[in-house]
């Protein structure tokens, strides 16, 4: 799945959240979108999901121009994307297992294979003893893993992860990132992850798109994050 942003603007009233954003992400890439809070990282993910519409410019996913795509085309694209929302977006009155079953039903996963798929992803994110609990009964880390399990269940072409490490302790944050890296390498799944954790970005040495005040300041190198972390260290010293 190819994702292309071509001179995209997003305005919220008089506020320009994104200005002249252009980049291209190819299948199988692992891309960090970095920037400070309010820089516009989550807005990019919402535009990819067509949760928000671009004010100007063109977003093309899998050859479909999102501003002109039919509802069916948009639904089809969404079914190929696994999402880990910043606030998890799990359905509160469904158990972890039911949340996963829901997305499998949405993508018309074969009914006789749903239970084995649930078992597989729950094991993958290590939530076996929490599968029948409701989101309100889970900790932040468990919620994040439940959201990841839901995203993984559909064997997506792309995973969008919006600040997935934001609410996790360092150990769980690393585990999650490692898991995403494995999925990327094993399944050739595109991972687009927003974060402001430069240490994670540097350690993985993957492509990085840096956003500042709604504009791209760096759209591509794998090691540019290192420079950033060094400059941060200098600032602290």
């Amino acid at each position: 799945m190819e994702i292309i942003f071509d001179k995209v603007d997003k305005n919220f009233g008089v506020i320009n959240a994104l200005k002249d954003i252009s980049f291209e992400i190819n299948q199988g890439e692992f891309v960090f979108i970095v920037g400070h809070s309010g820089a516009g990282k989550s807005t990019i993910l919402k535009l990819i999901l067509n949760q928000l519409k671009a004010s100007n410019g063109k977003i093309t996913i899998d050859g479909v121009d999102l501003s002109h795509g039919t509802k069916d085309e948009i639904d089809q694209i969404r079914r190929k994307i696994g999402v880990i929302f910043q606030d998890y977006q799990l359905i509160m009155d469904k158990s972890v297992e039911e949340n996963i079953a829901l997305i499998l039903d949405i993508v018309s996963y074969p009914k006789d294979k749903i239970q084995s798929k649930i078992d597989e992803v729950i094991k993958q994110v290590n939530l076996n003893n929490r599968r029948f609990l409701f989101p309100s009964q889970l900790s932040g880390g468990e919620l994040q893993r439940a959201a990841l399990a839901r995203a993984l269940a559909i064997e997506p072409e792309v995973i969008l992860a919006d600040e997935p490490t934001g609410n996790l302790d360092p150990e769980n944050a690393w585990n999650l990132v490692k898991l995403l890296k494995d999925i990327n390498e094993k399944n050739n799944t595109t991972i687009i992850m927003t974060t402001h954790n430069y240490e994670i970005v540097e350690s993985l040495n993957k492509r990085k798109i840096e956003i500042k005040d709604g504009q791209i300041v760096d759209s591509g190198s794998k090691d540019s994050s290192k420079k950033h972390i060094h400059s941060k260290k200098h600032e602290r010293n």
């Binding site: 999901l49 969404r78 977006q89 359905i91 509160m92 009155d93 039903d105 839901r150």
Partner: protein
């Protein structure tokens, strides 16, 4: 997770709203079934009178036998005449006494002279009765009074028509109450589950996918309402059957024809599912816009 499972989940998550919607539909269909049963009974009464084609011509006092014979001949010339029976004054007294034999007060003072002689005409086609009536109604020189089922039928028709009109108005009102109750309750449920619908849409659920459980829910209320409402009305009809039927004797006002009740039940289930689907579809159209 199938849509039916989701529908069941919705029903269980807001049991009181579900119960209200169901009760309103049960009440609506109970009223509709009762009306159908009453209407069927009234039709039986009408059929009974319509299939007893008789007319009685009361003769003026003082007619000689020739005049009576002439009237009888005239009557015999009509088509579809089955029988013409002359009831003399003496015979009329005899009948009167027989009918009131348990009440001597009524028979003591009555003599044959105060009772009119009459001709009772039975026909095979009720239309002939109307022709006879039209002809003899103006013959005041020989006919004193005419009584035939038309009066009773007309009176019954008036009553039946009034009951039917009132029933239809009542059905429309309870139908509308049921319709808007389902529509509003589905709307409330959608509002309660707005977040879930939004998440499902972001995960790639089609518009129809998120609407389907609510449509099923509306149909569920309609089908169950139709089924339970009909059954309740049948039970009530069976309980009161003997007393109502004895009042309308010899007409069988409440029948035990299983085919009739089966047809009513199926029609109401079908109609209920239609109303429920339509109401929930309107609710869904109004509240799901993303």
């Amino acid at each position: 997770m199938s849509a039916i499972k989701t529908t069941w989940h919705h029903l269980r998550r807001s049991p009181f709203q579900s119960l209200i919607a169901l009760l309103v539909m049960v009440f609506s269909f109970f009223v509709i079934s009762i009306f159908i049963i009453i209407n069927s009974g009234l039709s039986q009464v009408l059929v009974y009178f319509e299939t007893k084609p008789e007319i009685t011509l009361f003769l003026k006092d003082g007619l000689d036998q020739t005049a009576v014979d002439n009237i009888q001949k005239e009557l015999a010339s009509y088509e579809n005449i089955k029988q013409i029976k002359f009831i003399s004054k003496d015979k009329a007294l005899e009948i009167y006494k027989e009918e009131n034999k348990n009440n001597p007060m009524l028979t003591e003072m009555v003599t044959a002279s105060i009772l009119p002689a009459s001709l009772e005409v039975t026909v095979s086609d009720p239309k002939t009765l109307e022709k006879i009536y039209q002809n003899y109604a103006t013959r005041t020189d020989v006919i004193d009074e005419i009584i035939y089922q038309k009066d009773i039928i007309n009176s019954l028709l008036d009553w039946t028509s009034a009951i039917r009109k009132t029933g239809i108005i009542f059905i429309v009102i309870v139908g509308l109450i049921g319709f808007f109750t389902i529509s509003t309750i589905i709307g409330m449920k959608i509002t309660n589950r707005k977040e879930e619908i939004k998440i499902s849409r972001l995960l790639g659920a089609s518009n129809f996918y998120v609407k389907k459980p609510f449509l099923f829910e509306g149909a569920f209320y309609g089908i169950c309402g139709g089924f339970i409402g009909s059954l309740l009305s049948f039970i009530i009809a069976l309980i009161f059957r003997s007393s109502i039927n004895s009042f309308f004797q010899p007409v069988v006002f409440i029948d035990t024809n299983l085919g009739f009740y089966g047809l009513v039940l199926l029609s109401e289930i079908f109609f209920g599912s239609f109303i429920g689907l339509l109401a929930s579809w309107i609710g869904v159209k109004r509240y799901i816009k993303f």
